[in-house]
């Protein structure tokens, strides 16, 4: 017969005490600081003068905010161009994947055809192969097709997203078969069943696929570095990587570049957090 008193008071349903709550907060504050603190530093550095960045002892805040760093780095690296490229590549990637991947997933979920299992297992096997295996031959192919140093060349090999097929197949499989039958009785062909009936019902799946395609495109570094060489055809990631080689001494500018390059995804994430989280959580779905 313990008397519940003071900080030992336990919430019977959740088992939480005031003490355990404070401990949770402490842990989370430290974790949040470790996760987010570096970005604060990135921002603070980006508005300092060069002298301030190399001052010893270091000072946390600048005398006056040097927004000019953003203008300088934008001019040096042509950020508007990099933005434009990245957005174009992302849109091409999302639209392309949605078309190619969903119709394939529909066929694998809804239609019967000889060789279906073999083809499916083949895809699964191919998905297990690490991507570096394909890079040299893909680059040679791009040279042959004249697609090096083009945005199309960045998109093309990434369109055929096997994981996307598995993901979308799972979304299709949750829809009742009666939908197909009803549509067929109404005289719909297979394509119209896919396009008019089922596709509108897997919107969460499409969002997930789109978000994963977007994250992948924005984050990818190696392929843009390999396939494209001129600064005007780079994505943000590759452009930033080039920045490192050339201007490492001026960290206030480099950090301004970092802020410019990472802001869009972070803002999108904060606005569409629910969709992002669902999308990323789906990338952890067991096949």
């Amino acid at each position: 017969m313990k008397r519940a008193s003071g900080s030992k008071k336990t919430n019977l349903l959740t088992g939480e005490t005031a003490g355990s709550k404070i401990r949770t907060h402490l842990f989370l504050i430290v974790a949040a600081f470790v996760a987010f603190g570096p970005f604060i530093w990135m921002f603070l550095t980006s508005i300092k003068t060069y002298e301030e960045t190399i001052r010893i002892p270091l000072k946390f805040f600048p005398e006056t905010a040097q927004w000019v760093n953003y203008a300088i780095i934008s001019a040096k690296l042509n950020f508007p161009r990099l933005y434009f490229n990245t957005i174009v590549v992302t849109i091409m990637m999302i639209v392309g994947q949605l078309l190619i991947v969903t119709i394939c997933a529909y066929a694998f979920d809804r239609l019967r055809f000889p060789g279906k299992n073999i083809l499916f297992i083949g895809m699964l096997a191919l998905m297990m192969v690490p991507g570096q295996i394909f890079i040299i031959p893909r680059f040679k192919l791009m040279v042959q097709l004249g697609l090096t140093d083009t945005l199309t060349g960045l998109v093309l090999p990434g369109l055929f997203n096997i994981f996307g097929v598995f993901l979308m197949r799972q979304f299709f499989s949750t829809l009742p078969r009666e939908l197909d039958e009803a549509a067929r009785i109404d005289g719909c062909g297979y394509f119209r069943i896919y396009w008019n009936v089922l596709l509108p019902l897997v919107k969460p799946g499409l969002t997930t696929l789109g978000i994963l395609a977007m994250l992948g495109t924005w984050k990818d570094l190696m392929w843009p570095l390999i396939n494209n060489s001129s600064a005007s055809k780079m994505t943000l990631a590759a452009g930033l990587a080039m920045l490192i080689g050339e201007h490492t001494t001026y960290y206030e500018q480099v950090m301004a570049g970092g802020v410019i390059a990472s802001i869009p995804l972070i803002v999108l994430f904060v606005i569409f957090q629910k969709q992002f989280v669902e999308g990323i959580a789906h990338s952890g779905i067991k096949g």
């Binding site: 996760a35 987010f36 119709i103 394939c104 066929a107 295996i133 062909g189 570094l221």
Partner: protein, 303 residues
């Protein structure tokens, strides 16, 4: 009767025809951009190739050369180090963090947002950011260390520290991503298990070890595999954080970094680079098979 059967067959044929048409774009693309390259990559690995031309057939000598190449062994050891040290840290930290934000506490949404931000930041920005934070002369880490009386450390320039710096940043960014995945899985656990256990007098620790972890085990297992595979292919952070002209670049190289240097940098050893990717693929395959074999033992309720 017979007529009906041929009708059925025709329907089936239509269905199959439609299906092949629908999967055609995907499979044509996979054939051109994955299947053929897969074979070509192997053939290239049997050749001595420069930047241009087809090169000459040399059999397996690229592979033999790998075994005598000191840099390759360094890259292999580094990659193993990154995976062995990084994977457990990523998995453990993401479970712990997910468990913390799964609690019903004030400010949960804020914590969650802040913790998730590294997961949605492009690695290029993360790389340059940590390069600056860990800077020997002007970095904030050394500044803080100096305040508490520790000599500055060349985090990215000293061959003894550089791998730890890399692993830290890898873990830092991956934990954020896998916390999202773990939390989603935790929220999928049926609440009534907890309520029932609570009524039976279980404490928090017991709930975590007896319910959360076992129910999470399929996702933990999946994460172990995905994190391992992900770290084995690490490239971005090394490429971005370490000065590529220095010795510590060589001493922090992963297999993929070495592949990139061989295949696409000055030295232009395409065939050699191709051989590295195949070694990497074999390693990943073996590790995946081993982990799959342990699935039964590790995963509660696995098939």
């Amino acid at each position: 009767m017979k007529k009906k059967q041929t009708g059925m067959i025709r329907l089936r044929r239509n269905e199959a025809f439609a299906a092949y048409l629908f999967i055609l774009p995907m499979f044509a693309g996979l054939f051109i951009f994955s299947v053929i390259p897969f074979v070509q990559n192997f053939l290239i690995s049997l050749r001595k190739v420069g930047t241009f031309g087809e090169g000459t057939f040399v059999g397996f000598s690229n592979y033999v050369k790998l075994t005598q190449d000191e840099t390759f062994w360094i890259a292999l050891k580094n990659t193993a180090f990154y995976a062995l040290v990084g994977m457990p840290l990523v998995v453990v930290f993401s479970i712990v963090l997910a468990n913390l934000i799964n609690k019903n506490i004030r400010g949960r949404a804020v914590y969650r947002t802040l913790l998730y931000i590294p997961a949605v930041t492009i690695p290029a920005a993360i790389g340059i950011l940590w390069r600056w934070i860990l800077n020997y002369k002007y970095g904030i880490v050394n500044f803080v260390l100096e305040k508490i009386g520790i000599q500055p450390i060349a985090w990215l320039g000293d061959v003894h520290y550089v791998r730890w710096s890399i692993i830290f940043v890898v873990v830092w960014s991956m934990v954020s991503y896998y916390t999202i995945i773990m939390l989603a899985a935790m929220q999928g656990i049926n609440k009534s298990y907890y309520e029932a256990a609570r009524i039976d007098g279980a404490n928090n620790r017991q709930l975590f070890y007896k319910i959360t972890l076992p129910m999470l085990s399929p996702m933990i297992f999946f994460s172990v595999i995905m994190v391992t595979i992900g770290i084995l292919q690490i490239f971005d952070f090394i490429y971005l954080m370490v000065d590529r002209k220095t010795l510590s670049y060589t001493y922090s190289m992963s297999l993929v970094t070495y592949f990139y240097e061989c295949a696409f940098n000055k030295s232009s050893m395409r065939g050699y680079g191709a051989a590295i990717t195949i070694v990497l693929a074999v390693i990943i395959m073996i590790i995946t098979i081993i982990q799959m074999a342990f699935r039964k033992r590790w995963v509660q309720g696995g098939e």
